[in-house]
Structures are given as structure tokens and as C-alpha cells.
């Protein structure tokens, strides 16, 4: 049950002594109101930005090395610089489609501090000359939609958004828009497709890098909610102060959600690149250890798409480059912890099933391969596995993501880490993401797979279609 340092009206958020760059207002029950926002430096960042040139503001963001907090970790200021000059209009699309398994932070930011996000958008539009901003909120998050709509209405009324913002010649509109249930739409080009009124199927990059060819074919910046939420604090306090937090390669803070078999699962704002996984899982400031005094078996360090880590990796800091070199990714800051009671095959299947259900269907390897992977794993779990299935699974995975797949080191087997990122035969990383649980578990827990396989290859498989299959007649 929650202890005194959970914040009840921000379920999961723990008010510890970590940095408060983006979660500073969470402790207040009225954190989402304009009143509270204005009383706590609200729109001061925008005010200061408007006293500087747009190019100046862009430079500040670039110098602060604000890494993207959506999953890919690309520096925002650098991404901003990719837009070709003069090809107006430019657009800003805010990715509020938080759907990565284990991820829980953007929803809190949208529900609890919508004005902060709005201000971040305004600063961005000002810096880059963006004509319109679209706040794409996941369809299943009505409270976030409500609070953002309310905040937008308030902001328009007060002249913070719309025509002649704060009495200057800066004018921009923000449109709140909705997703409708598709994880893939969190991929930036799929998001743009969805915003154009299409099926959310990703575009090929090259040539469709959004900064070059994006919404309606125009240069478009796609940024994550948390990334933009950093900007008001940054503009008020400056990049030196920002860099005083976190590490040199990864300055600032970031929000992480730790879930699963820990004593105190929660959403924490941590020092990026400083806090280690051990701190997070065992620290008193954080999750206070594994439940029931169980042993840690494995954990997902960065959302469902991340290859798994094991006790050997506990001392790594939560830093993009480090984690990447060690065979995984920091991704969306979603850590799912599994103790010794967890069936590795079952856990792997659950994630693979997620990717199979969420595949958009556009490209062959992902559309067919992820469901095939799911079926094989289900058969193994159901006692219908065959010995050849394990290597077949690895080969199918290889046809989706060729070459050695990123994986953590395993000293007990004398195996090194294979660094991130994976290769892909697919258009987007969703297909390759389905491979992460497979390679991670087979490499480490092959015996668990073998133990479930009791039949011989020569016995034909009489597996019934799965309930998730489209067995449609008529």
C-alpha cells in the first residue's frame, strides 16, 4: 500500500529528495490549474524567451543537450537544426501517445502540469518559427485530454497562446488532438500519418525524416511530452543550472517508472546519468528492494523494446550511451523488475504478444514474423513445443533484425554484450523490438525453454488457432 511519500493525487509519483525540474508542482493538488502555475514561475520561461531572439533560445536548448525522452534519446536541439531553411510552414507535433510497456510519466505530466507542457511548446514554436502545434494525446487518457483542454482554454483567454502572445508579434495556435488506440502511433512518422487522418503506419526514413518532410510534407518537429516539459525551467534557470544536474553526457533529470516485483514501485524524477539501477531498485529513496526478500532474476531497463538486464548490470548508471554500449537502451525510462518467481518464457511471450498485436502490418517481416514468434512461444508454453523451435525462433528473429542482436553480457557463459541499436529488415523498430525478449531469455534461460519442450520434432503439431487470430468466416 502507498506510504506517506506517495502523492495521492499523482498516483505512483514519489515525492523524494530528487531533482524537481519537471515534477515541481506535483505535490500540489491544484498543480494543473493556471492559478498554481502562475504562482510558481509559470510562463516566466516564455516571457524570458520572448526577450531574446528565437535563434538565441534555440542555442540555449542545444547547449543544454536536452536529450529526447521519448525513447530514442536524440538531442532535441540538434533535431531542431535539421529543418531546411525557408520551407514554411513548419509544424510542432507533441508526442503524447505514451504506450511503451512499463512507461508511465507523460500521462502524469499532462494530467498534473499541462501548462508546463504548453509553455514548453510555445518556447519551441518561438525558437524555430513553427506555425502550429498539435498536442497528440493518447485516446485512452481522457483526464489528460480534459486537463490539457482546460489549460489551453485558460491560456488562450490569458493571451499566452493564439494571436499576439503576451502582446508581441509571436502568434501560434495549439490544437489538442486524439489518438485512438495504437502503440505504433508513438513512432514519429506514424504519428504524423495519424495526424493526417490516415492509418498510423510509419514512413520510410530516408526520405521521410519529419524535420525534412513531415506533416503535410512540411518540415515538422516531433518531440516527447517530457522533453518539452523541461524547457520552461531551462529558460528560467539557464543551461548552466540545468547541467548542474545529471552527468556530463546526460545532463538534467529524467522521469522513470519502476514497476514489478519491487517493494515500492513508483514514478521518480532522477539525476540522469548518475543514479544507477541498483540505487533505483534498492535505494531507500526509491524502490527499497525486491518484494518478499526475493532474489532479482532480471529486469527490463528501458521499456518493452529494451533487451533485458540481469543482476550483473545493476551498477550501470541510467545513461543512454552507457546502457546502449552494454546491450540495451534507456528508452522511455520504464523499468520492469522480475524476481525469481517469474517464468522467463511466459514473460517473454507477453512482450512478444504485445508487438504482434501492435504491429501495423505495413511491412512483411514484422506483420508475419511477430505473430509467428508469438505462436511458437505460446506452443512452447502450452507444452506443444518442439526442440527445433528454439533455434527456429532465433532465426525468425534474425530475419526481422539481422546480425547479432543487442544483448547484455553474461560473464557466467563468457559472453560479451552486443551494443545497441539492432539492425532492421523492417521499416521501423517495432519488429526488431519483439526480438529483445526472445534473445535475452534464450541466451540466459535456454534451460527453461528446453524444460518445457517434451515432444519430439517428428510428432506433428496440432495446435489450435490462437484466440487472437482473425479466424473470420463471413
Amino acid at each position: 500500500m502507498p506510504t506517506y511519500d506517495y502523492v495521492p493525487h499523482a498516483p505512483g509519483y514519489v515525492d523524494n529528495d530528487g531533482p524537481k525540474i519537471v515534477t515541481s508542482r506535483f505535490v500540489h493538488e491544484d498543480s494543473h490549474t493556471l492559478e498554481r502555475y502562475e504562482a510558481t514561475n509559470g510562463y516566466e520561461g516564455l516571457r524570458r524567451a520572448l526577450d531574446r531572439t528565437p535563434a538565441d533560445v534555440h542555442e540555449e536548448v542545444r547547449d543544454a543537450v536536452v536529450l529526447g525522452r521519448g525513447g530514442a534519446g536524440f538531442p532535441a536541439g540538434v533535431k531542431w537544426g535539421f529543418m531546411p531553411p525557408g520551407k514554411f510552414p513548419y509544424y510542432l507535433v507533441v508526442n503524447g501517445d505514451e504506450s511503451e510497456p512499463g512507461t508511465y510519466k507523460d500521462r502524469l505530466l499532462m494530467e498534473r502540469d499541462p501548462h508546463q507542457l504548453i509553455e514548453g511548446c510555445l518556447i519551441t514554436c518561438y525558437a524555430l518559427g513553427l506555425s502550429q502545434c498539435f498536442l497528440y494525446v493518447r485516446g485512452e487518457m481522457p483526464a489528460a485530454q480534459e486537463n490539457l483542454a482546460q489549460a489551453l482554454n485558460e491560456a488562450y483567454a490569458k493571451g499566452y497562446v493564439g494571436k499576439n502572445i503576451m502582446g508581441t508579434e509571436f502568434s501560434v495556435d495549439i490544437t489538442l488532438t486524439w489518438g485512438a488506440g495504437a502503440y505504433i502511433v508513438g513512432e514519429e512518422t506514424a504519428l504524423i500519418e495519424s495526424l493526417e487522418g490516415n492509418r498510423g503506419m510509419p514512413r520510410l526514413k530516408p526520405p521521410f525524416f519529419p524535420a525534412a518532410i513531415g506533416l503535410y510534407g512540411q518540415p515538422t518537429i516531433v518531440n516527447n511530452v517530457e522533453t518539452l516539459s523541461n524547457l520552461p525551467w531551462l529558460l528560467v534557470n539557464g543551461f548552466e543550472q540545468y547541467k548542474a544536474h545529471g552527468s556530463e553526457a546526460s545532463p538534467g533529470s529524467r522521469m522513470v517508472a519502476v514497476s514489478g516485483h519491487v517493494n515500492r514501485p513508483g514514478v521518480y524524477e532522477i539525476e540522469q546519468g548518475v543514479t544507477t539501477f541498483r540505487d533505483l531498485l534498492y535505494g531507500d529513496n526509491f524502490c527499497r528492494g525486491i518484494r518478499n526478500d526475493n532474489e532479482l532474476k532480471m529486469f527490463v531497463p528501458g521499456g518493452g523494446s529494451a533487451p533485458w538486464f540481469f543482476p550483473e548490470q545493476l551498477d550501470l548508471p541510467l545513461e543512454g550511451r552507457t546502457v546502449g554500449a552494454e546491450g540495451s537502451m534507456l528508452g522511455s525510462g520504464a523499468i520492469m523488475v522480475m524476481d525469481e518467481t517469474t517464468d522467463a518464457v511466459k514473460a517473454a511471450l507477453r512482450l512478444v504478444r504485445f508487438y504482434a498485436r501492435e504491429s501495423c502490418g505495413k511491412c512483411t517481416p514484422c506483420r508475419e514474423g511477430t505473430t509467428w514468434e508469438e505462436r511458437i512461444l505460446q506452443r512452447i508454453l502450452d507444452g506443444e513445443g518442439r526442440p527445433s523451435d528454439i533455434d527456429k525462433l532465433l532465426d525468425i528473429a534474425d530475419n526481422i533484425s539481422p546480425g547479432p542482436y543487442p544483448v547484455a553480457a553474461d560473464p557466467s557463459q563468457g559472453l560479451d554484450a552486443v551494443p545497441f541499436p539492432p539492425k532492421q529488415t523492417t521499416i521501423c523498430p517495432l519488429g526488431p523490438s519483439s526480438v529483445a525478449p526472445i534473445t535475452s531469455t534464450i541466451r540466459r534461460f535456454r534451460h527453461e525453454y528446453e524444460a518445457k519442450i517434451t515432444k519430439r520434432d517428428s510428432i506433428p503439431v496440432m495446435a489450435a488457432p490462437m484466440s487472437s487470430d482473425p479466424v473470420e468466416v463471413g
Binding site: G361, E368, W372, N399, I427, A463
Partner: protein
């Protein structure tokens, strides 16, 4: 990528260790294929935007940062690129993709139409794994389901390559099929109760790389290895799309589109594609027929020809008439012109049925080609019928040019067309006043904008301002309820625009060949006027003869002793039903030369001679650009049906003349001598131009002169009639095509919503439409695409034919619409 020297006009790429020169901007998949390396693919199609979805074309590409698997259909060649299509990684990727495609693909090959010409089969054998490791249950769907009257969809076979949906949306603009659901459950489907009723649906069957889409006219008919084929030209309309005709055991089974860059790009309208069914119809005339006691009875060629000759012998040439000829090949047209004008001495020959334009409007104006009209950045002005209804393949070309290549389209049409949603400007003049609108447009270009034909000045000015680059006027007869003179006057006005070219939109089959061969009064073969004479003819008429309308009037007055219907149906097609009926009834002897009996034949022909179809004769065809292409024989005519030129030769012989025609080649040789513009049409040139055709240019026909007529104002109570053709109508050939016959919509009268509301009736109520000529009953409909003040009735529609309302001598047709 480093900068490329400006002098170099090619891009050097290393392909499998060998340096090749590619064109700048060329896709890697195309460059490789041109240099002999075929990269397998499914979703890529050279005439559609690449999407890089199937992943079959992945090859290892190194642009300077190490080799990476890239979809070659999406990558333009880059200087210094290194490509390996045979590396281990490439082969593994190919194995993988094919295995993935096959895991849910049903084992249908033995019963699937596509077997034997199936890219999935072929590429699996060439590039794929030997076995599948899939042991689970495959996806199942009800199979197949009809998605339209002609096309069936088998979703189990579908590999979701997006070709059909891309075609429907991007090329045809008929977004009636779409991907539904997501991921492994994705399927192509239609909206409930809204079938894939596109005029171009047949193209999806041709481009589908598996047997998911099949066409009802071809299902289970043959295996590809049973088929013989020849390249030919579609005869259905005047675009002259390039096709292959495929037959087995002497029956035409299928037509496929061939990619001719100058013409149709491989696309066909469904009417072009499935129209061959009419040629296989049981109703084909297989023997001559003679009317005995009011009924047509079969007879032999000898007595039939004797009867025809008896009718023709010693008749005053001024009392002989020939209506029709657009169905014929160029060679047959020449033979008939030679017979009529050179042997019989009559100039009363007209291939058009009063529903087209005078020959000066086609041969007397500077001409443009389709490619010229569609050159990026130019302007097209449409003064004519809806290309989507009349000239399907041309519509697709124009649509592509407007959507993709920045062509500005200005419509001066009586109603909205299939291009209106993408036109830069759609101006709708009052029927009978397009000439005033055209003149006003030209004035506006010079800066003087004024209202005209019911169109406000600012709309005309905006249209004029958007004209950029050379203009092509697509010129045809938009409505047969108004006289051709108005369209000709519009053309004359527009001919003042700088650099203008005209692309004819006369629609009927080989009508342009007919004009080239002299099948109009005052004309001789080779685009020369009567007075120029013709060395190859024994004689040439001295007086200019009658056109179809005049011939029918003469016949109605008892002044025509012999009327030859050369593949024509005046009762259905002449825009004056009353005149046609009186004319056919009043003519002395009516001789019809036909493939299938039509309304005119059945009611009035005294003698019917069976003609061979386009697939049953060798010959050439001339399209609306003046492009000549081969139309080869593939099967034998049914019964004793004969080539039209043979019939002409037989008649000439019995009349004591020798036409000197022995074969299509010999006729072509004579044409080349007689007509300087056809001199380049050697057998070699034709052989070289089997795909692209040979463009014939030049003409001695003078430009048309203004009619000087004005259109009367209509009274406040009446609407002005617009009678336009729809792609599917009650035409004989179409109704004899089993798959297409039912697609013709019944007649209806469509009004603008404001006029509709004034009547206070529900849509679908049967109303009476009354003109000065007659009346017609039709259900009522409303559509904002019909301008206020007009009433639209399609021509030759099942139910009632609008030509009962039209008076051919009037410049416009005013009608009243009343409760029935």
C-alpha cells in the same frame, strides 16, 4: 554524398562489383534491372509511387558508411554507391521475406488463376527457401468475395502489397478499397454496400502479384501456358491503348494493358479490358442476312452480295449514302472510301453520327499529343466530354499530370466531371454558350475580364491568371443536346492562345483513322480536301456531299436510294431519334455491315453483311493524337464473317471495278503513296512502333471558320438539356459483354438541387421531360454537379434514349420537367 561535377550527366554505381552508369534520380531497382540484374519485388510498380513495404527488394547498399540492407525501390542512385544484390545478407533477407509471405499464403496454386504467371511463385523459386518451417494454422477468410460485379478478392492469398489500394486511390481517384484492421489481421476490403465499382477496377487484377484479385471474365478460363498472344490496340475508344490480346483455341480470353509511354502507361478502362466479351457473344453475325417478309433470314454471301450490287448499280451517286466507319481498321476505312468516292462516286460518307465535330475542328487545328498535354507545368483546357466517362485511359493520364506533375486544368464543361475535384478551375457555361465563355477566357488573358455564359468575371479572370506554359485544349462534343458549332466556335476562340495545341476528344473507336482516310464529306484520304483529287481513285466526286444529318433528312424525304450503315446505329446514336427513324424508314435499301445486330439493323436493315472484329483482322488503328498502331489478328472470324475491306473489294468487283486491295499490307502501301502524311508508315516503322505507335503529323485541311450563329435565350420556365455519355450505356457492344452489360445505370434526369427543390418531389420520382421534339419519362435526381438551369440526361441509357428529345437542327434543346 560528395558534390557531383556538373559536366557528368550520369551517376556511377558499382553493382555486384561492376561499374554501371545510371541516370540521375533513377531508382536503384530500375538501374539494376536496366543493367541486367533483376531485384525481386512485389509492391513496387513503375507507374505508381514507391512505398518500400514488402521488403522483397532489400539489397546491401554502401553509400560511404558501410553496407546496410536498403529497399532498392526507394533509393535513388548515388554517385559512388556500392550495391551487392548477391551478398549473404541480401540472400538471407530474401529467403526471410519470402518465407514470411508464404506462412499465411494458402496452397491454392493448382486452382489459382495466377499460377504460371505469378510473381510470388516465380520469385520463390528464384530467390526463396526450399521449404517452409511454419506448422501452425494459417489465416482464414471467406474466399473469394466479390468486391464488384467484375472483380473477386481472395484475402487469404493477399500479400498486402498495397498495389491495388494505391492504384485505386492514387491513380484512379476511386478510393473504394482500403486496408482494414491492423497487423496480422490486415485485409483489403470495401465499405459495406459500396462495391469497388470503379471504371478501372480491372487494372488491379492485372497488377496484383498473386491471385488475390481475379476478374470474373477470366476466372478458370485458361492457364498462361495455354495462351497465345499478340500486341495490339484497344478498339473500344479513340485513345488506342496498347494491349496484348490473349487467346486459346481460337477464342479471345483476355486483354492485358501494355505500357506505352506515349499513350496509356499500361492502364486500361474496364470497358477496354473486358469489351472482348462482345466479340465472343453468341449474337455475333456469322452469315449474311436478308429481310424476307419483314424478318431477317440467313443467306449465303453470293446472293447477299448480288442483292447489294443490284441495289447499288446505276444509282445516282447523290442518292447513295454511307453512315459509319469508326469501327473499322484504317485499311478497311480506306477501302470503303475508295469504293464510295472512287467507284460509286458519292461524297455522302460520314463516319460520325452527328454526335461529333466537323473535320476542320480535328484536322484543321494544330494538334498536341497526350504527352505534350501532360508535360509537367503546362495547362490543359477541357472543352469537351468528361474524360472519365468517355476516354478512360486518357482520364488516368490527365489525372496523373494534374496530381503529380503540376499541370493546371481548367474545365469549360456543362457539368462537373471526374476531374473537377482536382481541376484548378471548373467553369460551367450555360449549355450552348461555351463559345462565349472561351472567348471571354481569351479576353481575360489579355486583361479584359467580363461575365460570360452565366460565369462571373472574377472566376474567368482567376482561370485566365492560372494559365501557365503552353496550353493544350482537349476538344470534344460535351453534349449532343447542343450543336457542334458552339464547340467549334469555342475552339476558334481558344486557338488564339499562344502556343496552343488541340487534343481531340472524339470518342468513337477509330474515328480519327476514318477522318484520315477521308470518311467525311469534302474529304479524301490523307487529310486533303475533295478538290485536291486522288490519283489512286478512278474518279472523285466534284460536289461536297452530305453529312449524316443531311443524309437522314434526304432519306426521310425519299431522296436516298441506298443507305449503307457501316458499323453504325443511327437510331441509338444520332442525337435526333425522330430524324433517325424517319431517315431509316425513308431510305430505299438499307445495307448494314455489322459484327452484332443493333437496333437500326434489326428494325430497318434490308441486308446485313457480317463483319470481322478487330481481333479477327490484321490492320492498323489511329488514335486521337494521330498515332498509328498495329491491331493484329489473333483469332479467326466466326462463321463466314469477313474483314470490312474484303467486303468492299467484293462489292467493287461485282460493280466492275478493281479496288486493287489484296491485303492490309498492300492497302497500307497504297495509302503511303496516296497520302504524303502517311508516307512514313512503312512496315519497318510500324514494326519498330509496335508499342509506341507512329505519330502522323501534318494536314492540308483548313482551320474551321466561325459559324456566326448565336444561341437563343431560353424562357424562364424551361431548363437547358445536357446530354452526355456515360461509360456504361445501352450500346450494342457493351450489352453483348456479359460482365459489363448490367453495369449501365438506367436513365434518369438530374437537376441542380435548387431546381430540384422547386419541383417539390422526392428523388426517384418518375417525371416527364418535354422538349419541342418529344417527351421522355425518367426518374428524378439532384446533384450539385449539374449547374442551375440545366438538366442532365445520359445518352443511350437503358430505359429511354434522350435523343427522342433532341432536334438536330436546333442549336440547343430546352426542356420542361413535370410531374408524370
Amino acid at each position: 554524398m560528395t558534390a557531383v561535377e556538373n559536366e557528368k550527366s550520369t551517376v556511377t554505381v558499382t553493382l555486384n562489383g561492376v561499374e554501371i552508369e545510371a541516370n540521375p534520380g533513377e531508382l536503384l531497382i530500375d538501374a539494376a534491372e536496366r543493367h541486367g540484374t533483376y531485384i525481386p519485388r512485389f509492391c513496387y510498380h513503375s507507374r505508381m509511387k514507391s512505398v518500400g513495404m514488402c521488403r522483397m527488394c532489400l539489397v546491401e547498399v554502401d553509400s560511404g558508411r558501410g553496407p546496410a540492407l536498403q529497399p532498392s525501390c526507394m533509393i535513388p542512385v548515388g554517385e559512388g554507391m556500392t550495391v551487392d544484390t548477391e551478398s549473404e545478407a541480401t540472400k538471407k533477407a530474401q529467403d526471410g521475406v519470402l518465407e514470411f509471405l508464404l506462412i499465411n499464403h494458402p496452397l491454392d496454386c493448382p486452382v489459382c488463376d495466377k499460377g504460371g504467371e505469378c510473381p510470388l511463385q516465380d520469385q520463390t523459386v528464384a530467390f526463396g527457401p526450399g521449404e517452409s518451417r511454419f506448422v501452425e494454422e494459417k489465416r482464414h477468410y471467406e474466399k473469394p468475395i466479390p468486391i464488384s460485379d467484375t472483380v473477386y478478392l481472395d484475402r487469404e492469398r493477399c500479400i498486402l502489397c498495397d498495389r491495388c489500394t494505391r492504384f485505386a486511390d492514387d491513380v484512379a481517384g476511386d478510393t473504394l478499397i482500403h486496408f482494414m484492421d491492423r497487423g496480422n489481421s490486415t485485409q483489403v476490403n470495401t465499405f459495406p454496400d459500396e462495391p469497388f465499382a470503379s471504371y478501372f477496377s480491372g487494372n488491379t487484377v492485372q497488377i496484383c502479384p498473386v491471385g488475390a484479385l481475379t476478374a470474373k471474365p477470366y476466372r478458370f478460363k485458361a492457364r498462361p501456358w495455354d495462351l497465345e498472344e499478340t500486341i495490339s490496340t484497344a478498339w473500344i475508344d479513340s485513345v488506342g491503348s496498347r494491349v496484348t490480346i490473349q487467346s486459346s483455341r481460337n477464342q479471345v480470353l483476355r486483354l492485358l494493358g501494355v505500357d506505352a509511354d506515349s499513350v496509356n502507361w499500361g492502364w486500361l478502362s474496364d470497358k477496354e479490358r473486358f469489351g472482348f466479351e462482345a466479340l465472343n457473344s453468341e449474337d455475333r453475325l456469322t452469315a449474311p442476312m436478308v429481310r424476307v417478309d419483314g424478318r431477317l433470314e440467313a443467306t449465303g454471301w453470293a446472293p447477299a452480295l448480288a442483292a447489294a450490287t443490284d441495289a447499288l448499280r446505276d444509282v445516282d451517286p447523290a442518292r447513295i449514302g454511307v453512315i459509319g466507319g469508326a469501327r473499322l481498321t484504317n485499311e478497311s476505312q480506306y477501302a470503303w472510301t475508295k469504293l464510295a468516292k472512287g467507284v460509286l462516286g458519292t461524297d455522302n460518307v460520314d463516319a460520325q453520327l452527328g454526335d461529333g465535330l466537323p473535320v476542320e475542328a480535328v484536322l484543321g487545328l494544330p494538334r498536341a499529343t497526350i504527352n505534350q498535354a501532360c508535360t509537367p507545368g503546362r495547362t490543359v483546357i477541357l472543352v469537351g466530354p468528361d474524360p472519365k466517362e468517355d476516354l478512360g485511359a486518357l482520364f488516368l493520364r490527365l489525372r496523373h499530370a494534374v496530381v503529380n506533375d503540376g499541370t493546371t486544368l481548367i474545365e469549360l464543361t456543362p457539368t462537373r466531371t471526374g476531374l473537377s475535384t482536382i481541376a484548378a478551375h471548373s467553369l460551367h457555361p450555360k449549355p450552348g454558350e461555351v463559345d462565349l465563355l472561351a472567348a471571354a477566357l481569351v479576353d481575360a488573358v489579355s486583361g479584359d475580364a467580363h461575365d460570360a455564359a452565366g460565369v462571373p468575371a472574377n472566376a474567368i479572370a482567376a482561370a485566365a491568371a492560372s494559365i501557365s506554359g503552353p496550353v493544350t485544349v482537349v476538344l470534344g462534343r460535351a453534349s449532343v443536346a447542343e450543336s457542334a458549332a458552339v464547340t467549334v466556335d469555342a475552339a476558334i476562340a481558344l486557338s488564339q492562345l499562344e502556343g496552343v495545341g488541340f487534343l481531340s476528344a472524339l470518342r468513337r473507336g477509330n474515328v480519327h483513322g476514318a477522318l484520315d482516310m477521308g470518311m467525311a464529306p469534302g474529304l479524301l484520304p490523307g487529310r486533303v480536301p475533295l478538290r485536291a483529287g486522288c490519283d489512286a481513285f478512278d474518279q472523285v466526286p466534284t460536289e461536297v456531299g452530305m453529312d449524316t444529318i443531311a443524309m437522314l433528312e434526304a432519306a426521310a424525304s425519299g431522296d436516298l436510294d441506298v443507305l449503307v450503315l457501316l458499323g453504325s446505329d443511327p437510331l441509338s446514336d444520332v442525337p435526333d431519334a425522330d430524324l433517325a427513324e424517319r431517315g431509316l424508314a425513308g431510305a430505299g435499301t438499307v445495307i448494314a455491315v455489322e459484327m452484332l445486330p443493333n437496333a437500326s439493323t434489326l428494325t430497318h436493315a434490308d441486308l446485313v453483311l457480317p463483319a470481322a472484329a478487330p481481333t479477327e483482322v490484321d490492320g492498323t488503328f489511329t488514335n486521337l493524337e494521330g498515332r498509328v498502331s498495329v491491331a493484329e489478328q489473333k483469332v479467326t472470324p466466326p462463321g463466314t464473317a469477313r474483314a470490312d475491306w474484303m467486303i468492299a473489294a467484293e462489292l467493287a468487283l461485282r460493280l466492275g471495278a478493281d479496288l486493287g486491295v489484296e491485303s492490309p499490307e498492300s492497302i497500307r502501301a497504297e495509302i503511303a503513296v496516296v497520302s504524303p502524311v502517311h508516307a512514313k508508315l512503312t512496315e519497318t516503322a510500324l514494326a519498330d512502333g509496335r508499342v509506341e505507335g507512329v505519330l502522323i503529323s501534318g494536314s492540308s485541311i483548313e482551320a474551321p471558320t466561325a459559324s456566326g450563329s448565336t444561341t437563343p435565350a431560353n424562357d424562364a420556365y424551361s431548363l437547358r438539356l445536357v446530354a452526355a455519355r456515360r461509360m456504361y450505356d445501352n450500346g450494342t457492344m457493351l450489352q453483348a459483354s456479359a460482365s459489363s452489360a448490367g453495369l449501365a445505370a438506367s436513365v434518369k434526369v438530374t437537376l441542380n438541387p435548387t431546381d430540384f427543390e422547386k419541383l417539390g418531389l422526392d428523388a426517384g420520382t418518375v417525371v416527364k421531360v418535354i422538349s419541342g421534339r418529344g417527351e421522355l419519362m425518367a426518374p428524378l435526381a439532384a446533384d450539385f454537379g449539374v449547374p442551375a438551369g440545366s438538366a442532365m440526361i445520359p445518352t443511350n441509357a437503358p430505359g429511354s434514349n434522350v435523343n427522342t428529345l433532341i432536334d438536330a437542327s436546333a442549336s440547343v434543346t430546352d426542356v420542361r420537367v413535370e410531374r408524370a
